[in-house]
Assembly symmetry: C2
Homo-oligomer: 341 residues x 2
């Protein structure tokens, strides 16, 4: 298996190389091509790696977080991100891409270079998020790629999210809910109300109805479907609230009695574990769903372990043939639609 890594897009290019080394040392059948500044990458490799499973593709440009996605993808043709995606598209020996670069640019480049799966008008970004049930994650689709959506987009997110959860976590017949402002059928904005019956009629998914934002972390749902604006609000509210709650506990202990301060010291390992559970950087990457290729988005501040995990995530999706799975479920949809007409 061969994966191409955009080695320049994130905050720590050296860590990306170290993550690649960790991955090839762990998985004997894995090869990695790193796109980025050759001299720098070669230096890190020389100091840390003796094998021959990593090659380098020199790129003179970098897409930064300040770049406007569409312009950057069009104009920075020699950037590590554009070259990584182009290589994956053109070289049939390459199975997938991992990048920690500018999210908007990665989505744009995925559309322009990897191209959409036939039938999908809006690819989406699917992150997996922790729940209150230890070790269980759920997938939020879309979480930011498409701020304004139509019901058919949400139907596609639901189908792709189901395939994704099956491939990534091995969950059979995953539950799919639509994010709404009330659990009862009939609640929602216009988009949710229009989408609900469409999801009810989609045979390839296990649709269980509305879910309120309060319950998305309960562990009861595998896939939560929403437009990218609401998904972004939910995702970032989770992040902000977790940080806020931890700060509140810290402040409260700091300003508390001596015994509370001692208690605070004693529970530090528990808080550290929680921090790592809630930290996106420690979690799996997001995946661009709906394009004709495996493209995993690592967090911009990913370090070695996180890059390695994202490479492993790409491997899992490749092994489980998620693109093919999505295509099959979509074609089933079209046949059903045609039969119903």
């Amino acid at each position: 298996m061969k994966i191409v890594l955009d080695g320049q897009g994130g905050d720590y290019p050296e860590q990306a190389v170290l993550g690649a080394i960790q991955a090839v040392e762990k998985h004997k059948d894995l090869e990695i091509v790193i796109c980025g500044k050759e001299s720098e990458i070669t230096q890190v490799l020389a100091n840390n790696y003796k094998g021959n499973k990593i090659t380098v593709c020199d790129c003179s440009e970098v897409i930064t977080n300040d770049d406007v996605p569409t312009i950057a993808v069009r104009e920075k043709k020699d950037s590590s991100m554009v070259k990584a995606l182009r290589m994956a598209k053109e070289d049939s020996s390459i199975d997938g891409v991992v990048s920690s670069g500018n999210t908007g640019a990665l989505l744009t480049a995925s559309l322009f270079i990897a191209k959409r799966i036939k039938g999908i008008s809006r690819p989406c970004l699917a992150p997996s998020l922790p729940t209150a049930v230890d070790g269980k994650c759920f997938v939020l689709v879309d979480c930011g790629a498409n701020a304004d959506c139509k019901p058919i987009n949400l139907q596609h997110f639901a189908i792709m999210g189901s395939c994704y959860v099956e491939s990534l976590f091995g969950v059979q017949n995953p539950t799919v809910a639509i994010l709404s402002n009330g659990q009862e059928k009939g609640k929602g904005n216009e988009l949710v109300k229009e989408t609900y019956p469409i999801l009810e009629g989609t045979k390839s998914i296990n649709f269980v109805g509305n879910v309120e934002a309060r319950d998305i972390l309960s562990g009861d749902y595998d896939v939560v479907v929403c437009d990218g604006f609401s998904g972004n609000v939910a995702l970032k509210t989770i992040e902000g609230t977790a940080l806020c709650v931890m700060k509140m506990i810290k402040d409260s202990i700091k300003n508390g009695s001596l015994l509370q301060k001692i208690g605070g010291l004693l529970i530090k390992p528990a808080v550290r574990k929680l921090k790592s559970t809630m930290d996106v950087n420690e979690q799996a990457g997001g995946t661009v769903l709906g394009v004709d290729g495996i493209i995993v988005k690592a967090h911009g501040s990913s370090k070695q372990a996180s890059i390695c995990r994202c490479i492993e995530q790409a491997m899992l999706l490749i092994n489980n043939n998620i693109v093919q799975k999505i295509k099959e479920n979509l074609s089933g949809l079209e046949e059903n639609d045609n039969q119903e007409k």
Copy 2:
């Protein structure tokens, strides 16, 4: 000052009466009328109150959480909620209403009975939420009354939210931000992009641009404006995440070493304080903004202290003449609009 309390809508009617008693004992110039089952209320009063500041208005019906708002408000004319609102509308000696009943029904009844302020097409529900800064709250408008909104609705929410924060917390020139999926100008869904320049041009508010959901709890913003669907997602994600994080810490301590368990016991007061900060029931009530009257919504599970706080919140809004303030800011808006044409 005279306030009417819907004594039957919440989960604990007896607690509502006790909350009213607490309020009149604390505020000598306050009178309260409690709408509800006279025999039950009289019983609680007989056992707990000797004064003459509380009167009872007998109501034979209750609007429950299972009722469909529009039907309930139309048909349950003798319900405690409908009677309380009607009394406030018809009896000029009554200054405001507090109810812990069905939120949808309260919004519907507010529209039908209190009526909209001229110029406001969509009243909204404004809760105040805690932030990472100790003691500082912010207001999220709308948080659920209007699932689908137009830019002009959001402009009204911004103006009303500003007046509200000034009246409730005494904040001068409060900062107003619009909830978006990116902080930069230009980010957002269609609604946000259309609303942004309108808020920029609204002279009566201190508009500071987009805010990402991650930052709404930072304490840097006084008013966060959004459509009721996104607001509901943010509000309930905060609630769900706070619960989830606290459960994770608890689990982690429970499954941790003996020292961690001892630490967990020692920090209990800190966690209890946090729980009360994050608990909507302990917080101030939400207020229906945009109707011609003071209507405070207490949480359905409110107990004595929380009901008393909501009554005090209504008193503050009455004293600060918030309805008049909103009217003035709206008329300013119309004049500006006319001048600009």
